[in-house]
């Protein structure tokens, strides 16, 4: 696999050398090592691609050159080359749109589509499919090739996503994502020739593999071969069931939902999203950000407790269900290291079905909690037996940002032009610290704002821990609390997480607290968000929007959330106390390493 992935670091030393290449009759400059595709792009020439994707910020590029859509002609040598995987050489005379190139591209696409189901109208990827868009771009109107087809074979075993190998075009983006970026290695090419498919070890159903359900594979899949398990029908059924239906929305949803309605990346649509949810008929629209503040109370107190009582360090954040399952498989001998705190939406579900139910005079089984999450792993998480209380799940239904967008479209709302509505009381209040939970580095920054004040008793003047921000896969900082250095590590992307945990296991690095998010960049790039197809510029915009919410917030420390304070006063007692541990903490299960 390593030959398919190359490091994107530019060759600095040889940069002085310049090549001259002709593209469509125009001479352009190029650097050695650049591909034809890169040079064409720099000079404004568009070459259609399919299997190619470039995670520049992650330094990974998928260039298996398996689809052959990007073939261009070198007139000097009289041959066709895949632009994505062919380095330029001096004097190349490239044609990106000659008749020969166009005919070839059409033939290749016809061959790909000759083994593809023609159910686009009812396919879950309809409108978001790169293969469909390419057929439109190329102007294909007929498939002349009638050949053998792969049988439809749908794996619905997991609660998070579906795989249909008949829609797979073997581009291996999912393999690159899962193996190279995430280091999870669920997928491999299995079999040979026409029978080869992307499958799992022993062709196991997804639920029996070490899949973390992070969903990054489906974020980059160009076709309908991977899709989330849709719970849209369950939500509509809940809303007409006569039960009390409560919805909560995660911090990262509000800065990405607008993209599904043609709004620019990074648009903050919080108030409009609440309006849409109200119109759908939810009894209450609450904010998971409230529960993020609650999570900080528990996690920060647990951190302080471990530091002051000689407990196990470092503490690892436990908000990310993909990370939790990864840890259970890979580091099953270290299950006492992660914080025992449940993730925010699960804490919320627990509070809704106890405190809120009692206040409203409702039975827990008569309440349905729906979570809108940027994540497909949350679907698996919500069914974990550890997250049930007397047979009742904390959270009943999880839908993704994409599913919410579809529901809003189903009821013909124009999100962009809706009025703003505030979240409902009492769980609508949240702080800037909660907002940044959606971004890599945000959870630990929020925890530090609170832990600092608990440990020192002083007011923290500058709440911005900027070294912990940004899209870098691994970040670290040392913070001085009561004169003692507290070492903080942050990793996003499971490959980076693995390296960081291995460094503490070997004793090479010492940290007091580590934040991990499974998706590169954090929840803003989650597997349930509008498809990013590897475009990290998009993720950057979402990240800026998250920090802008924090910047503009009046209250920026979780422990200053008055609704959270009231919840402890009226119901939970002390943070990390007996009742809080009962309702807001969980346990982990060792799983097999693959």
């Amino acid at each position: 696999m390593s030959e398919a992935v190359k490091s994107q670091t530019a060759p600095v030393a040889e940069a002085a050398e310049t090549l001259t290449v002709t593209i469509n009759g125009q001479a352009v400059k190029a650097r050695p090592g650049q591909t034809i595709l890169e040079v064409a792009k720099e000079n404004g020439y568009h070459i259609p691609t399919l299997c190619h994707f470039d995670l520049a910020n992650l330094r990974y590029v998928n260039e298996v050159a398996s689809c052959r859509i990007c073939m261009v002609e070198d007139r000097k040598r009289g041959r066709l080359y895949p632009a994505c995987a062919t380095p330029v050489s001096d004097g190349m005379d490239i044609q990106t749109n000659s008749l020969r190139v166009i005919r070839n591209r059409r033939n290749v696409l016809e061959l790909i589509l000759s083994d593809h189901p023609f159910d686009c109208l009812v396919c879950w990827k309809n409108g978001d499919c790169e293969l469909q868009a390419l057929a439109s771009e190329v102007g294909l109107r007929e498939i002349r090739v009638k050949g053998e087809r792969h049988q439809v074979n749908v794996d619905t075993s997991s609660l998070s996503f579906i795989r249909d190998s008949s829609k797979c075009i073997l581009c291996k983006r999912c393999v690159t994502m899962c193996s190279q970026v995430q280091s999870v290695n669920v997928y491999s090419a299995v079999g040979r020739g026409f029978n080869s498919v992307i499958s799992t070890a022993f062709d196991l159903p997804m639920i029996d593999t070490n899949c973390t359900f992070c969903g990054q594979c489906l974020s980059v899949c160009p076709t309908g071969a991977l899709a989330e398990v849709s719970n849209i029908d369950k939500v509509w059924a809940a809303l007409t069931s006569g039960k009390h239906v409560v919805v909560q929305t995660a911090p990262a949803v509000r800065v990405a939902l607008g993209e599904a309605f043609g709004m620019p990346p990074g648009s903050n649509v919080t108030g409009r999203m609440v309006t849409a949810l109200k119109q759908m008929g939810f009894n209450e629209v609450f904010d998971t950000n409230f529960a993020a503040d609650l999570t900080i109370m528990e996690e920060a107190t647990e951190l302080v407790h471990r530091i002051e009582h000689g407990g196990r360090l470092p503490i690892l954040t436990s908000c990310c269900p993909g990370w939790v399952k990864f840890f259970e498989h890979q580091f099953s001998d270290m299950l006492d290291v992660p914080s025992s705190s449940k993730s925010p939406h699960e804490m919320f579900g627990s509070v809704i079905k106890t405190y809120f139910a009692e206040r409203q005079g409702l039975k827990p089984e008569d309440i349905i909690v729906v979570s809108v999450m940027p994540c497909v792993a949350k679907k698996f998480e919500s069914a974990r037996p550890e997250l049930m209380n007397e047979g009742v799940s904390d959270v009943d239904i999880v839908i993704t940002t994409r599913e919410l967008a579809r529901m809003i479209q189903e009821i013909s709302l124009d999100l962009e032009n809706l009025e703003d509505t505030p979240f409902d009381d009492p769980f609508g209040e949240s702080t800037g610290a909660a907002a940044i939970f959606g971004s890599s580095g945000g959870v630990i920054e929020a925890a530090l704002r609170t832990a600092y004040e608990i440990m020192t008793g002083d007011k923290l003047e500058d709440v911005n821990f900027t070294p912990l921000r940004g899209l870098e896969g691994s970040k670290e900082a040392t913070v001085s609390i009561n004169g003692a250095p507290i070492r903080i590590g942050v990793a996003s992307g499971l490959g980076n997480a693995r390296k960081m945990i291995e460094s503490i296991r070997s004793g090479e690095q010492v940290y007091h607290a580590i934040e991990i998010m499974a998706c590169p960049g954090g929840c803003i790039a989650g597997g349930g968000q509008p498809y990013h197809f590897g475009n990290m510029e998009l993720i950057k915009k979402r990240m800026e929007a998250i920090y802008a919410i924090d910047d503009n917030a009046e209250v920026r420390k979780s422990h200053e959330n008055t609704a959270v304070q009231r919840l402890y006063r009226e119901y939970l007692g002390e943070p990390y106390g007996q009742k809080a541990k009962e309702l807001l903490h969980t346990t982990y299960t060792p799983r097999r390493k693959f």
């Binding site: 491999s188 299995v190 070890a201």
Partner: protein
């Protein structure tokens, strides 16, 4: 099998062999060949052991196993029956012999029977074209086989 611990003598022998190899992808094919020699096929336990000892993801090991036709993921039967479909045997009607075997043994060609007694496969030339058609059962070779001989051959391998 909990990771790395087993009472199975074949797997213990495999573990000993694997421990002496370089822990990288270069060792994969020899490791799989040795595992198949020891166990007769590549069981899930064997594939896990190879992957985990050599630090290669199990999914990738499985991908390699399914790529090469030499590797088997199911055990072979006690009696491994091969019918030659090479040119000489073919023109002397070996397909009819193959059909007769499949009918009498009540199994599909290319499979191993549920009771693990018989495997029935085809081969391309055993180098004895002068005696075509040829049937091989484990190390026994049968030359100039007629359809009417098949029942008699099977009777020797009933236990």
């Amino acid at each position: 099998m909990p990771d790395g611990r087993t009472d199975n003598p074949q797997l213990i022998a495999l573990q000993t062999y694997l421990n002496g190899l370089d822990k990288d992808e270069g060792s994969l094919i020899v490791a799989l060949q040795r595992a198949q020699e020891l166990i007769g096929y590549l069981s899930e336990d064997a594939i896990f052991m190879v992957g985990q000892t050599l630090n290669i993801p199990v999914s990738k090991v499985y991908g390699v196993v399914t790529f090469y036709s030499f590797f088997r993921t199911r055990p072979r039967g006690k009696y491994d029956i091969k019918v030659c479909l090479g040119t000489a045997c073919f023109v002397r009607k070996s397909p009819a012999i193959l059909n007769e075997l499949a009918t009498l043994l009540q199994m599909e060609v290319g499979t191993t029977r549920e009771d693990l007694k018989y495997s029935l496969n085809t081969v391309r030339c055993l180098g004895a074209c002068g005696s075509a058609p040829i049937v091989q059962v484990n190390d026994d070779l049968y030359a100039n086989v007629q359809v009417s001989d098949v029942a008699g051959i099977i009777r020797r391998y009933l236990d």
